[in-house]
């Protein structure tokens, strides 16, 4: 079972009408690990997530999901396997928070079915994990950006998929909720064997939670490996063009960067 990687991506290219974003990206992700996807702005992190979630089709190369070509899955099928927390989040109508989180159960429910006890339990747990229970009856349009982001996170948790993709999912959150949600995510990786791939801007935050880091630069994965081995001054210098010094985290001993001004 474990021999089949969750994602096996080979030489993937993708271009928008005006520019080429991905140019021969290859990577392999195994089940039950927390991956951090890092790289400068506009290097194709979001596009790579979209391709992996089946929201866009690659122009070239192959993507295999659990040993089967991604294109062979139906959309509903993928929605039961992969959840995505997007970067920007806006709901256009005043759905209640509970309704929005319940939308995470739609892929599991037949079109005209009613949510059962299990669906309600998953929604309840997801809202508890994201500290959104007290908004349950409020309209999602009345919430602040960070609160709304937590609601979307809750929806992705309620979707209860084997793969969770976070596209800067904690960008708008205060530090307490950021740590709580990432900790919760890490727990699910450890306990339920969920596979998480998360885009981070903050290298130190990524190093604190991820088992492995992937650095994306100019449309290719330039470095992938366990956090301890790829969190190197030379790699940060090459990818971001910044200088710093690596030191162990005072509590956990994980590598952290002290950036030079």
């Amino acid at each position: 079972m474990n021999a089949v990687p969750v994602f096996d991506i080979h030489d993937v290219t993708f271009r928008y009408p005006r520019c080429r974003v991905l140019d021969g990206a290859s990577l392999t992700l195994s089940a039950g690990r927390f991956y951090g996807l890092l790289g400068p702005n506009g290097c194709g992190k979001t596009t790579l997530l979209d391709l992996m979630a089946g929201l866009k089709r690659p122009d070239g190369g192959t993507i295999a999901f659990r040993g089967r070509p991604l294109g062979a899955y139906r959309r509903r099928e993928l929605a039961r396997e992969i959840a995505l927390v997007p970067q920007n989040f806006y709901v256009n109508f005043p759905f209640s928070v509970h309704e929005v989180v319940m939308m995470g159960r739609y892929p599991h429910l037949p079109r005209f079915a009613h949510p059962g006890a299990d669906d309600h339990r998953q929604v309840q747990n997801a809202m508890a994990a994201t500290d959104t229970e007290r908004f349950a009856r409020q309209s999602v349009t009345a919430l602040s950006g960070g609160e709304r982001q937590r609601v979307v996170f809750a929806r992705a948790l309620a979707q209860n998929t084997g793969v969770l993709m976070l596209d800067e999912a904690t960008a708008n959150l205060d530090i307490r909720h950021t740590l709580a949600l990432l900790g919760r995510t890490r727990e699910r990786v450890r306990q339920n064997g969920q596979t998480v791939i998360a885009v981070f801007q903050d290298v130190n935050l990524a190093a604190l939670y991820c088992d492995e880091l992937l650095f994306l630069q100019d449309g290719r994965i330039v470095s992938q490996g366990p956090t301890e081995t790829v969190m190197k001054v030379e790699i940060l210098q090459a990818v971001y063009g910044v200088e710093g010094r690596i030191r162990p985290h005072t509590e956990y001993g994980l590598p952290q960067v002290d950036f030079k001004r």
């Binding site: 997007p86 256009n92 109508f93 005043p94 509970h98 949510p115 309600h120 309840q124």
Partner: protein, 379 residues
């Protein structure tokens, strides 16, 4: 009737199911199922209530008019026709039966079904275009229909008999729709901004064309203007059947995609990540709603505000979940247009074009609700 099947389908969907309490959960965890059942009960109750009011309104409307008929007689006559028992009619003046069954009921049902159709299209358009100001005519369907009808009236085309004008109106609306879709689709598919822009551009061109037709139309101009303002006068069972089939089929399609329509509110990427084929659902719903609107316009002329107003008001009442909003809006739309038509037909001293009436009454009312809503939100 086809409309009814669509509604019944939805009503069944919103029927609450008994949720068993889950073992080992804190009591607060069981709160959500209760709340959900309450929510679907409120939709059920609203549907049932509106359905009853609509039935009563149809009967009342059939008794009102130039000849005022007693209420029980109307019920009895309607029953006789429904149950195919001509012997029940013996007690009444034969004129009454004709007035109810051949004159009033077709017009009443026509206005109700068109109202339901326009409200349904409004829900769908607002859901797809992610814009609460969208209505069935946003993509230029009304401008296309108006242009088509005006051409038929100007050239006095009568090769297809009484169907000439409606057919031309429908053709104009359909051609406009596909023109707008063609204009607004780029490589990656349809976007709501492109659709709205393309709709505005095409509608502007068509209304210029319409002005030109009115300018050259001479004595025909009054006929054109009268048609444009909309009317249910002299509608037949044929018209009722036509709109009923169109609205019924449309309601079935929209009900089928109602849950996907909810997800469209999240935007393309999140909706797709939750398993919705965004482009396909958008296209299917857009074409369905536009064609239903086109049939409605072809049969009744251009009646504004129903498609904008009703979904808005009903969203405040039952919430934005389209599975409840669709049936409730359809019933409310039917009631509104039936009421407006009855008002102009039987209550007002002189018949006012119904399109003018809905705008005159609906507009200020909408302003009031909008203002009240804004004040509440500011608090």
């Amino acid at each position: 009737m086809a409309v009814r099947t669509g509604l019944v389908l939805v009503v069944m969907n919103t029927t609450p199911t008994p949720d068993n309490p889950v073992d080992g959960l804190p009591t607060s965890a069981n709160e959500a199922p209760d709340r959900h059942i309450r929510a679907s009960r409120s939709v059920c109750g609203t549907v049932a209530g509106l359905g009853l009011i609509l039935a009563a309104a149809i009967t009342a409307a059939a008794s009102l008019g130039y000849i005022r008929l007693p209420f029980p007689a109307v019920l009895h006559i309607m029953g006789a026709h429904l149950c195919d028992r001509p012997d029940w009619l013996a007690a009444y003046d034969p004129v009454w039966s004709v007035v109810v069954a051949e004159v009033r009921l077709p017009r009443i049902l026509c206005s109700a079904v068109v109202g339901a159709g326009l409200a349904m299209c409004g829900v769908v358009f607002q859901g797809i275009l992610l814009n609460p100001l969208a209505d069935p005519y946003t993509l230029g369907v009304s401008a296309g229909a108006a242009f088509g009808a005006a051409v038929a009236l100007l050239l006095n085309i009568a090769t297809l008999g009484v169907f000439s004008v409606p057919l031309f109106a429908f053709a104009g609306a359909a051609a406009t729709l596909f023109g707008v879709i063609y204009l607004s689709s780029d490589g990656s598919g349809l976007s709501s901004t492109n659709l709205i822009l393309a709709g505005i551009i095409v509608a502007a061109i068509l209304s210029a064309g319409l002005s030109f037709i009115k300018y050259v139309a001479d004595e025909q101009v009054s006929v054109i203007i009268f048609w444009l303002m909309g009317s249910f006068a002299a509608r037949t069972w044929m018209d009722v059947g036509l709109v009923a089939v169109a609205v019924g089929l449309g309601a079935a399609v929209c009900t089928f995609f109602a849950r996907d329509l909810n997800l469209l509110a999240l935007g393309e990427r999140p909706a797709a990540a939750l398993g919705v084929d965004f482009q396909r659902v958008t296209l299917v719903l857009l074409v369905t709603a536009s064609l239903v609107a086109a049939v409605c316009v072809a049969v009744s002329g251009i009646i504004g505000f129903v498609g904008l107003l009703v979904p808005h008001l009903m969203r405040m009442l039952v919430g934005p979940d389209n599975r409840g909003l669709l049936p409730v809006s359809m019933l409310a739309g039917a009631l509104l247009l039936l009421g407006a038509d009855t008002l102009t037909r039987a209550v007002l001293p002189q018949e006012i074009p119904i399109g003018v009436l809905t705008a005159l009454v609906g507009g200020p009312f909408f302003c009031y609700v909008f203002r009240k809503r804004q004040k509440e939100q500011a608090l």
